[in-house]
Symmetry: C2
Subunit: 311 residues, 2 copies
């Protein structure tokens, strides 16, 4: 099948391309290389079935042209801002890179009669509801970050476009995703800080922020498993692991893997890392488990494997 | 208080301005007159406390300038596309006029430290769930129109902006709103058709589409009653009437009020009027009733009063 991977030079997108190529699909990758990088796709440059466009998804005419010219049959939309901390100071990042990219891709699909899509959503759509196990029917979604708002707005678009144009759309609400090619986040920050100073580590918040971390290859397995299994409409799944890892535990694992002992932790205090950060959540994964997928790695294991790849 | 009414030359916005002026507030109205009209605000031209800007809300610099210069304290956001049938053919109408207007107003508020807002949302955010009485905790919202999607996306933005900037935002999910100054919709269409041909009337769908219609002045009462009664965060209410009116009943009322007898109805068939139309819904209004507001007029009465104003 001829597929478009939007954001394909990014952390998750590039792993998805690797797998889709192995499955025999023909790949068109669009990425503006703002968060993605050529390094992530450099190993694919001599593959016949891989073509890369260095374009911005805000250029709707170009998207339309690529979809038409390449005769795209399936769109994987993994293009978005992924650095929530950055957009907290500048919401236009989310308006453009997270919401408007979705709108432009859906418009391209509508005009070119493309009927299949995968969309990367997020736990951030739920907002701060850590007293509850979050399932796909949790009501009253109130995102607290501009990122979560743009993703929830994107989900709303998917519903209308699928209904109006008979599209089949698979949506996964990702938890924190980690693994090789990670570009930012707490693991990344701790390694960087400990390389500068191996005696002390500043930890944002009280260290008790606890979230499920999924290993990127586990996530890719799930996308591949469900990608063709969608009727007309939107199939929505929470995707993740049943375990979770606290920020302090992440610090412990990083120190262990870097063979550092007696590092003194300094906590900045407060329950969240920064304004807009959801300090704690856990998914109910019954729907995706019932559909026949389950993560291979626990959250702690995913953290440890990621640290090993990045030190 | 100095308030901005975005979309103030429109059907609902202009009624809101009338009432806010009577309450002693100072009004700044922005409207690009695409769906609104000068006629709706002509009677206000000599009022000291009313100022009109013929500007587009997509011009974010101008919004910022007006908010700063006018020292706005409260924003009433009633600017949106209101013609769902039109945007079904052209989704960019909703991306621009319904979603991006919300984003631009919120950005203006953030930059100018404006902390209070009223937002006009819609039953269309729920999608097609007519087997259920819709309350504010109904889960799994799946709008089927681009309009509903843009409004749900806007609500998501309100949640993030209120959290990040300590804003107090009142949101009403409107049902069908009717009354003087109405510009389109089924009542409007029936009157127009019967003026051309008083013997026969074409009715879209099977005529059994049944929705609650609220009289615009009832709705304005509710906005005024709750406008100052919001803590930091988003206060969300379904607003409406407990009764509902079928499309065939509307035809009957229009014929009665126009004193037409023996009009032959021709139904185009199917359950909905057009793709993206939700043929039937009913609200649970417990939350707004418990808060102390209740509509004065039934749905049928609102239809009849509206017909009288428009024939």
């Amino acid at each position: 099948m001829k597929v478009l991977v939007a954001g394909g030079a990014g952390f998750i997108g590039s792993h998805l391309i690797d797998r889709l190529l192995n499955q025999g699909h023909e790949i068109v990758c669009i990425d503006n290389l703002s968060l993605g990088s050529r390094d992530n796709i450099a190993h694919l440059s001599d593959r016949d079935k891989f073509r890369f466009y260095d374009n911005d998804l805000l250029d709707s005419e170009k998207i339309d042209e690529i979809m038409r010219k390449e005769k795209i049959e399936y769109v994987f939309h993994l293009a978005a801002n992924s650095d929530i901390q950055a957009s907290a100071e500048n919401p236009s990042i989310e308006y453009q890179n997270t919401y408007s990219t979705t709108y432009n891709l859906l418009e391209g699909m509508r005009k070119n009669q493309i009927k299949k899509m995968f969309f990367a959503s997020t736990s951030a759509v739920y907002g701060n509801k850590y007293e509850k196990l979050l399932d796909e029917n949790t009501p009253d979604l109130r995102p607290i970050s501009y990122y979560g708002a743009a993703k929830l707005g994107s989900e709303a678009l998917l519903n209308a476009y699928s209904y109006m144009n008979d599209m089949s759309i698979l949506v996964f609400r990702f938890p924190n995703v980690i693994g090789p090619r990670l570009t930012h986040g707490v693991i990344f920050d701790f390694i960087r800080k400990l390389r500068c100073n191996s005696k002390e580590l500043e930890i944002l918040g009280d260290g008790q922020q606890t979230k499920p971390y999924i290993y990127v290859l586990d996530l890719i397995d799930a996308i591949i498993q469900f990608m063709d299994n969608v009727k007309i409409g939107v199939a929505l799944y929470n995707i993740g692991v049943e375990t979770a890892t606290s920020v302090t535990k992440i610090a412990d694992i990083v120190c262990e893997e870097m063979a550092l002992k007696d590092v003194v932790y300094h906590y900045t205090g407060g329950s969240g890392g920064w304004k807009g950060d959801v300090p704690r959540f856990q998914y109910c994964l019954d729907r995706v488990h019932a559909a026949g997928w389950r993560a291979k790695y626990t959250s702690d294991k995913a953290v440890r494997m990621t640290v090993r790849h990045n030190i």
